[in-house]
């Protein structure tokens, strides 16, 4: 039990005290047992107040503090570090949200807001009374990283990680690196060729002595945790003799008698059993599909010294400190009959069209017929009404528009029709849309309802697409086209569930990997040390894929930098006296953090500290109530509930707008230091922001940001614009 508690109740300028009677509350809590200090302060987060708090803690030997102010999302770390600076363990600090969850939503009922605030503060005091001093868990970590997937996201991240001094293992399932961009002749927005980007990244990787690339490699087993992941890899053989002459290898490829559909060209062409995805594919060594040469004794005899058909699969074990998953996406494969796919002979997907364009440099020919008109149907496999792909695939609108521009550039005579739901060519990509419209591409909008989707039909030899165009009063139009292209979106990879199981990364209903929080922790997963980047997380274009994988790389570099990692101590713990090892907790733990151990001859559950995420899912299922999460103990939570029941007699405070403003002015000495500096930098006349920056010598962004808040609190007032109408004037109030 804590006996020397400090309670700070914040006015937040007036954001709280305009509605909640903070002065009354501080008087009330000052009288409480075990509360040594209860203060109301103008801005709890102001530097001056933080200094006062440090002094209070030290002088009064406080053993816990409660700050009642804004949402903990904003200032939890501010006050935790105040505690730490004063020598108090940060776990003995509780923040009570009396702004976002009290003064603001109940600004219509100030008296009740004050009663509620009293309950919230009491709960905070109760909770902190039972707080324990927790220390971060220190783990030793290896400065090595595995990047899984050598698409553009993974390759770029591997280079960045290596340049930051990490040992990198880049693991690619395919025999060649580059991922999907290698299948694109020209990429929006820059017009660069995907293959060239792959080649230059590969070149850069080869220059880094601390990157090892594994191709044709899959992950077999993962154990261990942050700092020390043990990963077993299976490396498939290429069946090419490493010492063979290059010309002989080339001849073997040419003379190979077996042909199969070429997956790289999405089945539009055939390839040999000895192949490269494309002539410049890297690493520059072909692969033999040995299975296909089983019945070709003459051929294999002829090239016996070139091929090495006895080569064996290899298993390699690695230990790495962290993992970046960049396994990418798959193209949506339309079902048979979906908009005529596979049932009408001239219906293809956008990725197929992209391959066709590369394979047909002069004339665009499909099924022996020259193509002069194309109808694109957008959003196929994305934004599904039925089915799990509710998301928008982000890049396909722009990709289609860009393809359309290239079609015209490459084949001159080409009419395109675009049947869309919404055009999502955002940011700079909008320019491409304007270009496309200018070159005469025709756009038709169909409604976002299943019954209004376009219909593809064969009428005699002709292919017709029927669409109810919203832009012309939903009149049904019939468009005849030589080729119908389904703008298919991105889907999660077939094996995402398997990868998710190996690393325990949560996946969404759409089967893409889930980050912790899309805004606050966009590349982190709940598994410590495992990060995600690129399109394995959801649809992205190349820029966005690389941005996210580089963010992951920076996070990992920062994490592994010092060789040890401090892990949050808010995790599960088992009361070994009460535990009877029923295994129920281990059954619900998705992370495998709970294992059975023997303590004094008794089987009990034990928590792996490096793995436990502190989610708390195990706690409610224990029949013996033997497992709890630090800081979320029964005592802590139940005492909060008791605290909420505090029913006090509070007198209503009259709220008078003028008084509120005046109060602010009176509290001048309590303003944050920067405000004082800004005011000192202002003349009594009108001031523009650049003038204030000049006079105060403060950073521009700081002045701009704080002036807005000062304006809100009536400390300064706007006074029109300067003559050039460039800047606002501000005046002291």
């Amino acid at each position: 039990m804590k006996e020397r508690i400090g309670v700070y109740i914040c006015h937040c300028g007036g954001n709280i005290s305009d509605y909640v009677d903070v002065e009354e509350l501080s008087k009330m809590f000052h009288k409480e047992e075990n509360v040594v200090i209860a203060k109301d302060v103008m801005f709890a987060c102001a530097d001056s107040n933080q200094k006062d708090m440090v002094q209070d803690i030290q002088e009064n030997k406080l053993d816990a503090i409660v700050v009642c102010s804004c949402s903990p999302k904003l200032h939890l770390h501010t006050f935790r570090s105040v505690a730490a600076r004063a020598g108090l363990n940060p776990s003995n600090y509780v923040q009570v949200n009396i702004r976002e969850q009290c003064s603001w939503p109940h600004s219509d009922r100030p008296r009740e807001a004050t009663v509620k605030a009293a309950g919230l503060i009491r709960a905070g005091i109760n909770r902190v009374s039972f707080s324990e001093s927790l220390e971060d868990i220190q783990l030793e970590v290896k400065k090595s990283v595995m990047v899984l997937g050598a698409g553009v996201a993974g390759m770029k991240a591997a280079i960045d990680l290596a340049k930051s001094g990490n040992e990198v293992f880049l693991v690619e399932k395919d025999f060649f690196v580059g991922g999907r961009i290698a299948q694109k002749d020209k990429l929006f927005v820059t017009g660069q060729s995907g293959k060239q980007i792959v080649a230059s990244l590969y070149d850069e990787i080869k220059k880094q002595s601390n990157i090892t690339i594994f191709t044709g490699t899959s992950i077999e087993k993962v154990s261990g945790s942050l700092g020390n992941f043990h990963i077993d890899l299976k490396v498939k053989p290429r069946y090419i003799n490493g010492k063979a002459d290059k010309q002989a290898v080339k001849r073997a490829m040419e003379e190979c008698p077996v042909e199969v559909p070429d997956a790289f060209n999405l089945g539009l062409t055939k390839r040999k059993a000895i192949y490269k995805n494309y002539p410049e594919a890297l690493p520059d060594v072909p692969v033999v599909e040995a299975e296909l040469l089983k019945d070709q004794p003459d051929f294999t005899a002829k090239f016996a010294s070139t091929l090495n058909l006895n080569e064996q699969e290899e298993t390699i074990s690695l230990i790495v400190g962290s993992v970046l998953v960049t396994t990418g996406y798959e193209n949506y494969q339309p079902k048979e009959g979906e908009f005529g796919y596979k049932t009408i002979d001239n219906v293809v997907t956008l990725p197929e069209l992209n391959r066709l364009m590369e394979l047909n440099p002069q004339k665009l020919v499909y099924n022996g017929k020259e193509i002069k008109s194309i109808a694109f149907i957008y959003c196929v496999g994305s934004r599904q009404k039925k089915g799990e792909n509710k998301y928008c695939s982000r890049q396909c609108c722009t990709s289609t528009i860009y393809t359309s521009l290239q079609l015209k550039e490459k084949y001159k005579e080409m009419q395109t029709y675009h049947l869309y739901r919404d055009i999502r060519a955002y940011g700079k990509q909008e320019v491409l849309y304007t270009q496309s419209a200018k070159q005469g591409d025709l756009y038709f909008k169909y409604e976002d309802k299943e019954k209004d989707f376009p219909v593809v039909e064969k009428v005699g030899k002709n292919t017709i697409v029927k669409v109810k165009d919203s832009l012309t009063a939903r009149k049904e139009l019939e468009i005849e086209a030589d080729l119908v292209v389904l703008v298919t979106g991105m889907v999660a990879r077939e094996d995402s569930t398997h990868i998710s199981e190996l690393f325990k990364i949560p996946i969404g209903r759409d089967r893409f990997f889930n980050e912790i929080h899309p805004k606050l922790k966009p590349v982190e997963t709940v598994i410590k040390g495992v990060y995600i980047g690129g399109t394995c997380q959801g649809p992205k274009n190349v820029t966005e894929s690389v941005q996210s994988s580089l963010a992951g790389a920076s996070k990992i570099t920062a994490l592994l930098k010092s060789g040890t990692v401090a892990v949050d101590p808010i995790i599960a713990r088992v009361d070994t006296d009460a535990c009877t090892w029923c295994g129920k907790c281990a059954d619900v733990c998705d992370y495998g953090a709970l294992k059975v151990v023997e303590v004094d001859g008794k089987k009990v559950a034990s928590v792996n500290k490096a793995v436990c995420t502190g989610c708390g899912i195990c706690a409610p299922v224990c029949p013996e109530n033997a497992i709890e999460i630090a800081q979320y103990t029964d005592k802590g939570i139940e005492s909060m509930i008791d605290g909420f029941m505090l029913d006090v007699q509070i007198q209503e405070k009259e709220v008078n707008a003028d008084e509120v403003q005046d109060e602010n002015a009176v509290g001048m000495k309590e303003y944050p230091q920067v405000w004082k500096e800004i005011l000192a930098g202002m003349t009594d006349e009108k001031n523009t922001i650049p003038q204030i920056i000049e006079n105060s010598k403060l950073k521009g962004e700081l002045v701009t940001y704080h002036l807005m808040t000062m304006n809100k609190y009536g400390v300064v007032v706007p006074a029109g614009m300067d003559q050039k109408e460039e800047y606002f004037y501000y005046k002291k109030k």
Binding site: K73, V115, K116, V588, N625
Partner: protein, 139 residues
């Protein structure tokens, strides 16, 4: 200063305990405040890492000590911890309801809904509806 005194009891607003989650539903509840969307001042929130970590005994503790209802603002399928979160949370509610029956507490006093990080209005309307339900319960 005016002289009238009142307490939440006098205004007869049902007291609701909400369990929210740090990363998803609690930010949604904050949003309601930020946008000054009003809901009952008899709503009190405890935030946890995940809604599947609510112990049935906490629910009982609240209902036996003056709370009229308990609302779990769950992450639903957005939960970053477990794809099975909705099922886990459901199991917790069922267990709590069993315990409530034993103690003759109306099982309508517990409710769950998914609240996302921008669900300001939905949260306020969940509170309004739940308050109405609770006010209408005759044990």
């Amino acid at each position: 200063m005016a002289t009238t005194a009142t307490t939440s009891q006098e205004t007869k607003l049902p007291k609701i305990l909400v369990f929210s989650t740090d990363k998803i539903s609690d930010p949604g509840i904050d949003q309601a405040g930020l946008r000054k969307i009003h809901y009952s001042p008899s709503v009190y929130v405890i935030n946890l890492p995940c809604s599947s970590g609510v112990k049935p005994r906490w629910i009982l503790h609240a209902l036996e000590n003056g709370f009229d209802g308990v609302f779990i603002a769950a992450d639903g399928h957005e939960c970053s911890y477990s794809a099975k979160c909705p099922e886990h949370t459901n199991t917790i509610i069922q267990t709590a309801q069993e315990l409530m029956k034993e103690k003759n507490i109306n099982t309508k006093r517990i409710r769950m809904a998914a609240v996302c990080s921008v669900c300001a209005e939905p949260f306020a309307s969940h509170m309004e509806n739940f308050s109405k339900i609770l006010a209408g319960i005759e044990e």
